[in-house]
Every structure is written in structure tokens, then in C-alpha cells.
């Protein structure tokens, strides 16, 4: 509760709303004690006095009555009537909701049907009908507003009660021989009370406004008694000659409704955990780049070079180092595998290439991504956009989530082409059809007209691949493209990717957690752990002679190479959270060979030609001299 209030008041607007509303309520409570003139005392000689006249701070109305006194008493009345309507609606509505929810069955059915019917009315028609039947008057307006809001409470409370009625403590009470009445009062009511209170707080402002509205129409409070609505209604006749008589009550209604709204928004936001985590922010068109150091100037090694890439997530005060200095390169026609558990930073590395990491919260804080020698991180949005899909294309994991659900597959394919090439729609469609054929989709003509949800997972992923191929890119980055698929489909997709690579000379970066898949497809492989590369080498060598203890564990998880999906949970323990990385080797807590010096300081990536490892005690001897020096330095 304390935390809730703190959150509420951290939202400055909600605080403002609370203060304004509090002030109004306070003012209204002490009104009878204030030295005010009688609000109903008429003085025809003093009609329409302007504000700040002697003795009348806000002036007078058409009968010479003091506006300040009328305003305060009117506010009192409006608030009281609104609150009363809210209480009545909440009580009756909740009672109906609890009964329907608790007893269920026929009663529930009939009641909910009725509620639906009532909710089919534009609310004011119902209120007008009730006032028409009962006759104008404040009490009748109150009844009408309360009645119109009953269905809202009934429906909400019924939902909560249905959930509660099936719970064990209710069953226990029944077994103990408690009567229905007592169960409702003792077990159900206390549990639905918070919902009732929240529903009331969100509707009370509305009901104040509604009763004021009916009074404004002349259907609510009758003269001489006046609430804010009827004050405004009476003032309307003199709107042009004495506007202040309208402005005074109007502004008061506005202040009340606004402060209630601000407070309500504040309460809602404080209760919504997503706002705190920043999960409701919009990702920008490209990842934010804020490089602390200089852009690395290493010679070009491949078509796509990552150099000391660092990508972080900044969430509030916390910094998650998702990618902590990764260097990789891939040559034309080559397939590079990046393997690691989830959370190892492999996907973030891949998405960083084309600036697709959601930002906020993602920020690239260092390094370079070079495509054919040109640094993509310093490229402006326009030139980056032109390379997306055209030079470097992506295939994502779950094609049901990654294809747009409301566009036909053919249109999505055609769009991929048309955003880069000036061709007619028909021509783009024709090429799209060809693409579907090239990924071996049967009946491509009719498939073009399908929506994603009408296809199977395997077919959808073929569409995903076809879309990546649309502009004949040089590099394809495939982020776990087969993880969501079953084993046979997975094998088909992999062999197809392999064929495409050979036919088209594609460079592929293949991200996976499965060494079996790597063995099938990749020339080289890089193993990632906690945002860094811990081992790299030709696939065959890494598989046969793993150097890093983590790599050998990963390989041990694949009993038969190429045997389809495997889970990596077989390695005991979890990767460290990347906002609290330990010093030294991040794998140390899970490593059976860990020594004290492993956790002392930064461990370098020991590199010899194609092979590299980040470990002081590798599984096989590697660069023995340098290792020995490093171990000594750590001691």
C-alpha cells in the first residue's frame, strides 16, 4: 500500500488531481461554517453583479443571489448526489453480481441477459426514460443515474465472484455446513470489496457529471435548490449578457471531473506493472547508438564484420550488458553458426547488425558493424533502411508472430520487393510467386492469397524465408528459424537453406541453441555465453575437440548429431544475469574445473588463426605459453 501511494504521487499529475479534489472536498465540508450570504436570498436590485463586486466575490446571478455561496452549496449538492448515486449503483449492482456469480445457472443466465440488454442502450436514453416515468426532480435524476450504472457493477462483480465461487475456501465453508447467506457475507463479500471500491472510484466522477447533466437539462434539481448543473442551465439564458454566471459553475464541474480523471489515471498506472518496466515504450525505427569509445579501425575480414560490438539494455537504473564486446565476421557464401543458451546474447547480437534491437531500452554502446567495409552503426536511417532486406535480410523464429496477421502472404512478399525496387504490383506479385516456388511451397498461386493464420508452421516459415530472399540479399541472418517447428519440417527447412546458400552464394549467420543443427549447416561456429564469445572455430574442429568446458557440455547435450531438437537444460545451473556479471569467467559458477584465478579478472580470448577460446583451463592444450602467463597473472 505504501509503495502504491508512493507510485501514485510520483506521478505528478495524479498528485495534482488529489490536491485539487481534496481542496474542493474540504471547502465543501466547511461551507456551512463559512460566513456566506444565504445562497437563496434574492435581491433584484443586485442582478448580474460582476465578480469582485463589494460583498459578492464571484458576483451575483439573475436573481441577485450570491454566486460564491450558490457555487459552494451547489458543489456540495452535486458531490453528494453523485456519491449517493455511486453508492446506490455499487450496492445494488454488486448484490446482483454476487448473487448471479455465486448461484450461477439459470439465475445467472437471466440476470446477465438483462444486463446485456441494458448495456445495449446509449446510457442517456435509459436515464431519460426513467426520468420521464418518474417525473423531473433531483431524487429521480439520482435514481436514473444510479440505475443506468447498475449493469456495469453487476457485470464486473459477477466476473470476480464466479472466480471466487469455485475456490477451495468456499467449498470448505460449504462442507462446514455454512449457509449460502453466511458464505456470501463472510467469504465472498470481503474478497470482492476491493473490486467494488475500484469500480466506484472510476465511475463516481462520471456519475457526478451525469447528474449535473440531467439538472442542466432541467430534469434534475428544481429551483430554488441548485446543483452545479442547474446553475449552469439557469445561467444559459444570460450566457451572452452575463457570461460569468455560466463560467463559475462550468469551471467547477471541469475542475472536479479533471481531478477525478487525473487521480483515476494515476491509480490505474500505479497498478499497472508494465509501466514500471518500461515495456510500454515504443521501439524506434533503429536502435539507439551511443558509443563511448572510438569506432574500431580493424581491417576488413569478411563481408559482414562485427567488431567489439556492445549492446546494452538500460532499464531504469539497471544496465543489462546483453552483448559485451563481440567480434565476428562472415565471408560471402559462408555459413557461420552462433550458438548459446537463451539469454546468451546471440539474438541481440544478430538484431544489432541492422539496428533492430528494440530501443528503448536497447542501446549500442560500442564497437562497429561493418557491411562491406561501411560502418552501419554510423549510417543514417535512410541508408540503413535501404540495406535492410536488400543487402542483409532476416529470418525470425516464430513466423506466426513475425508475419503480419492482417495482410495476405502475397502482399507481404510483394511489399518486400516494392520497398526496394520500382516495379508494378503485378510484377512484384509475379516475383513473389516465383519465390514461393523456390522455397517449395505447393500450390503457390492459391497460397499467395492466404493469411498467415491459414498456413501450417512449416509453410509459414517457408514464407518467412521467401521474404528474406525477395531481394537477393548477400547476407541472411537466421534467428532460430527452426526452433518452433517439428523435427521433420526442421530437417526440410535446413536442407533447403543449405541448397539456397550454395545456389546463390549467400552468407548465412545462423543462430541456434542446438549443436545438431550447427553440425548440419555451418562451416564455422561461435559459442556465446553471457554476452561474450567463449569459443570459436571451424565446426568440425570445435565438435571434435571442444576447448571450452561450456562447449563440451553443449555438445554432450546432443546424443546424436543431427538428431533434431534438444534442450540445453541438461547443464546444471543458469547463466548469470547480465546486469550482475561476476568478475572473471562468467561460466565459473557452473564450471566443474573452476579455479580461484578464473574469477580474478578479465579473461582474454586466446586466438590462434581460426580457433579461439576464453578459458584458463581448456579441455585440450591450446596456446600453452600464453595460458600459463595468464594463469600466473590471475593468482
Amino acid at each position: 500500500m505504501r509503495q502504491f501511494l508512493k507510485l501514485l504521487f510520483r506521478n505528478r499529475l495524479a498528485g495534482l488531481g488529489a490536491i485539487v479534489l481534496g481542496a474542493i472536498v474540504l471547502l465543501v465540508l466547511v461551507t456551512p461554517l463559512l460566513p456566506l450570504p444565504d445562497p437563496n436570498a434574492t435581491a433584484t436590485g443586485d442582478r448580474f453583479l460582476r465578480p469582485f463586486s463589494a460583498g459578492h466575490l464571484l458576483g451575483t446571478d439573475h436573481l441577485g443571489r450570491d454566486l460564491l455561496a450558490r457555487l459552494l452549496y451547489g458543489t456540495r449538492l452535486s458531490l453528494a448526489v453523485g456519491l449517493a448515486a455511486a453508492l446506490i449503483a455499487a450496492t445494488i449492482g454488486s448484490a446482483i453480481g454476487i448473487l448471479a456469480g455465486y448461484f450461477g445457472g439459470r439465475l445467472d443466465n437471466v440476470v446477465m441477459r438483462g444486463v446485456d440488454m441494458l448495456m445495449a442502450f446509449p446510457y442517456i436514453l435509459l436515464a431519460l426514460a426513467i426520468v420521464a416515468a418518474l417525473g423531473p426532480g433531483l431524487l429521480n435524476a439520482l435514481i436514473a443515474v444510479a440505475a443506468v450504472n447498475i449493469p456495469f457493477f453487476a457485470r464486473n462483480i459477477r466476473g470476480v465472484t464466479v472466480g471466487l465461487a469455485g475456490r477451495e475456501f468456499v467449498d470448505a465453508a460449504k462442507l462446514a455446513g455454512m449457509g449460502s447467506g453466511r458464505i456470501v457475507m463472510v467469504e465472498i463479500l470481503p474478497n470482492v470489496l476491493p473490486t467494488i471500491v475500484i469500480a466506484m472510484s472510476t465511475t463516481v466522477g462520471w456519475m457526478i457529471l451525469e447528474t449535473a447533466g440531467l439538472s442542466f437539462l432541467g430534469l434534475g434539481s428544481q429551483p430554488p435548490q441548485a446543483d452545479l448543473g442547474s446553475m449552469l442551465g439557469e445561467a444559459r439564458a444570460a450566457l451572452i449578457s452575463a457570461p460569468h454566471t455560466s463560467v463559475v459553475p462550468g469551471v467547477m464541474i471541469f475542475l472536479i471531473v479533471m481531478s477525478v480523471n487525473l487521480l483515476g489515471d494515476g491509480i490505474r498506472d500505479a497498478l499497472d506493472p508494465r509501466l514500471k518496466s518500461g515495456a510500454l515504450s515504443r521501439p524506434r525505427a533503429t536502435t539507439a547508438v551511443d558509443r563511448k569509445g572510438p569506432v574500431p579501425e580493424t581491417p576488413q575480414q569478411g563481408l559482414l564484420d562485427l567488431q567489439e560490438l556492445q549492446t546494452q539494455f538500460h532499464v531504469g537504473e539497471r544496465i543489462y550488458r546483453a552483448v559485451g564486446g563481440v567480434s565476428l565476421h562472415v565471408k560471402p557464401g559462408e555459413c557461420l553458426g552462433i550458438i548459446g543458451e537463451s539469454g546468451s546474447g546471440k539474438s541481440v547480437t544478430a538484431l544489432s547488425v541492422m539496428g533492430l534491437v528494440a530501443s528503448p531500452p536497447g542501446v549500442v554502446t560500442g564497437g562497429a558493424v561493418k557491411y562491406d567495409g561501411e560502418d552501419l552503426l554510423s549510417a543514417d536511417y535512410k541508408s540503413l533502411r535501404r540495406k535492410r532486406g536488400e543487402n542483409v535480410a532476416y529470418i525470425f523464429q516464430d513466423p506466426l508472430a513475425t508475419l503480419h496477421p492482417l495482410y495476405r502472404v502475397g502482399d507481404q512478399l510483394a511489399e518486400a520487393i516494392r520497398v526496394h525496387h520500382r516495379v508494378s504490383d503485378a510484377e512484384a506479385k509475379r516475383r513473389g510467386l516465383e519465390l514461393l516456388r523456390s522455397v517449395r511451397i505447393p500450390n503457390p498461386e492459391s497460397r499467395m492469397r492466404n493469411y498467415p493464420h491459414e498456413m501450417s508452421g512449416g509453410m509459414r516459415q517457408r514464407v518467412g524465408i521467401a521474404m528474406a530472399l525477395a531481394n537477393d540479399p548477400d547476407v541472411i541472418i537466421a534467428d532460430e528459424p527452426t526452433t518452433a517447428l517439428d523435427v521433420t519440417v526442421q530437417a526440410q527447412i535446413l536442407s533447403m537453406l543449405d541448397d539456397l546458400r550454395r545456389e546463390r552464394g549467400l552468407a548465412i549467420v545462423f543462430i541456434t541453441h542446438d549443436f545438431g543443427v550447427v553440425a548440419q549447416l555451418c562451416d564455422r561456429v561461435a559459442v556465446m555465453y553471457a554476452g561474450r564469445i567463449v569459443e570459436e572455430g571451424m565446426t568440425r574442429e570445435v565438435l571434435e575437440h571442444p576447448l571450452h568446458p561450456y562447449t563440451s557440455r553443449l555438445i554432450a547435450c546432443v546424443p546424436e548429431l543431427g538428431g533434431g531438437r534438444r534442450k540445453l537444460e541438461a547443464i546444471p545451473g543458469l547463466p548469470p544475469p547480465v546486469d550482475k556479471l561476476p568478475p572473471g569467467c562468467a561460466f565459473a559458477p557452473r564450471c566443474p574445473k573452476a579455479q580461484p584465478e578464473c574469477q580474478k579478472g578479465e579473461i582474454a580470448l586466446f586466438t590462434k588463426e581460426e580457433r579461439a577460446v576464453r578459458c584458463l583451463y581448456p579441455e585440450e592444450t591450446f596456446l600453452e605459453e600464453e595460458m600459463a602467463d595468464a594463469r600466473l597473472a590471475g593468482e
Binding site: 440488454m117 445495449a120 442502450f121 446509449p122 446510457y123 442517456i124 436514453l125 435509459l126 431519460l128 426514460a129 426513467i130 420521464a132 416515468a133 418518474l134 423531473p136 457529471l209 449535473a212 447533466g213 437539462l217 432541467g218 430534469l219 449552469l232 444559459r236 450566457l239 451572452i240 457570461p243 455560466s246 463560467v247 462550468g250 471541469f254 471531473v257 479533471m258 480523471n261 487525473l262 510500454l280 515504450s281 515504443r282 521501439p283 525505427a285 541492422m354 533492430l356 528494440a358 533502411r385 535501404r386 535492410r388 532486406g389 535480410a393 525470425f396 508472430a401 513475425t402 508475419l403 503480419h404 496477421p405 492482417l406 495482410y407 511489399e415 493469411y451 491459414e454 521474404m467 531481394n471
Partner: protein, 315 residues
Amino acid sequence: MGSYILKRLVSAIPVLLGITIIVFLIMAMIPGDPATAILGAYATPENVERVNRSLGLDEPMVQRYFIWLGNMLTGDFGRSYSLNRPVLDEILERFNATLILAGTSFVLCAVLGILAGVVSASRQYGFADKAITFTVLIGISIPSFFLGMMMILLFAVNLQWLPVSGMWPIYGDRTLWVLIEHLTMPALALAAVATGVVARLSRSAMLEVLRQDYIRTARAKGVPERRVIYGHALKAAMVSIIPVLGIQAGFVLSGAVYIEIVFQWPGVGRMLVNAILQRDILLVQGGVVFVAACYVLFNIAVDVAQSLLDPRIKT
């Protein structure tokens, strides 16, 4: 599609019947003799006798309901004693004016609201977003009748840009331009609150959608950002915006009652308020049933629009 519309129409029949039952029950709450209430000042013994016979008022409740329902289905909503003309004629004439007002407001609130929400979301926490959020907050907090009065003061009285009230001038031509002049203020005042609500919802719907994987896919394809936002994201966000538009239509229709009073717009809302003050029961009854039924039909149109947008809905 045709069969879907038919299905929705059939499913509306119980709702429509429910509406008539509810209105009937409410009207049964009128204290005293119903014929006298209906006739008001015209309640001579012969008139009471005639009304009792034609509305079956001496019959039991259930019969009375079916007589009333039957009359309505044949287009006989009764006769308004205060206007001395058939209720249905009056409603149809007035409904026209309400339709122009509420329809314009509805289009305004949908277009402006969605636009504001999209701009706001695509510049989250930027200046435009803050300005829109602030305006929206003011907009949804001003009671429409007060906003209308203030608009009259500013635009009609002080600046003299627009006519004070009414739908047509007493003298002069009834051209489209004249109508637009008269319509501008009431339509804007009526649209204000709904625009705010739609803008808020569109903003949060867009923010939700922009985090989806398929938006990342669109960006990865190289779709320009403008198209990502106004094409891919907006289309997906519409799925959650459209139902809210349906609800807001009800609020616009409700708000029209106040706006018609403030601007002396000759619509159904003003007719209903006057009828209540005159205790013209048949006119109230007929007006409420008629407008509620139109609203139910409108919501079917909303559902149909939704099913056209979203192929995942089974039609």
C-alpha cells in the same frame, strides 16, 4: 459475408425485443392512470376511453405489451398529444437532424482521435505527444454542454465567425454551406470528449502493436518508417480501436441530447427533453425505442467492419 451480416441481424432480434421490454417496464412505473398520463391536459372522459381502447390499457400487462409491440411493428407509435401529430413522423423528421449532427461528430472523433493517437504514439514522450496528451486530458474533462456554451461565447459572440445556434437560419437559403456553418460548433463540441477517448485508446493500442514481432519484421524488410506506422501498425491497432469506436458512438448519441439543447438543434434529443418536460409519454417512449434500435443496428455495422478488417474472425 452476406451470411455473416444476416446472422448478426438475426442475433439482434432478442436484443431489440429486450429493449422494448425494458422501455415498457420503465413506462409501467408511471404513477396513476396511464391514459390520463398519456393525454395530460387533453384527458376528457371520451379521450381516456378512446386511448384505453386503442392501447389496450384495461388489459393485463402482458397483453398490453404485445398490443404496443404490434402497433410499433406496423409503424404506429401512437400520437403525440403535445404536438398533435403521429409520433413516428415527428421522430423521423427530428432523427434526420440528429443523424447529421451525431454522424459528423462521430466521423470527427474517429478521424481526429485516431490521428492524434497515432502521432502521439509515434513520437512517444516527444513534444507532440505531450501536447496531445495534455489537450486530450482537458478535452475529456470539459462537460460538453459547458464547452458548447464557451464556444458560443468565443466564436459566435466575440469573434462573430459562426452563427449562435440552430440548424438553419430563419430567413435565407438552405445551402450546404449554411448547414456547415451552423454545424461546425455543435459537431466539434459534441466530438470533444469522444475524440479524447479515441485518441487515448489509439495511442495505447499503437504502442502495444509497435512492440510486436511483425513490426520488427516489417522494419527488417526495409519498409520505410512512415509506412510501418501508418500501414502495418495502424492496421493492426484498428482491431482494438474499432470496438471502442462502436462504444463511443453511443456516447456521441448520448451527448447529442445536451448539445442539441445548447445549440437549439432540432434533433431527437431536444425533442425527448421537451417531451419529458411536457409529460408527453408516447413521444418519449417512441423516441427512446427508435434511437436505441438504431444504435443496435449501428453496432452490427461495427461488427461487420471488424470482420472485414480481421480475417481471423470467423464469418
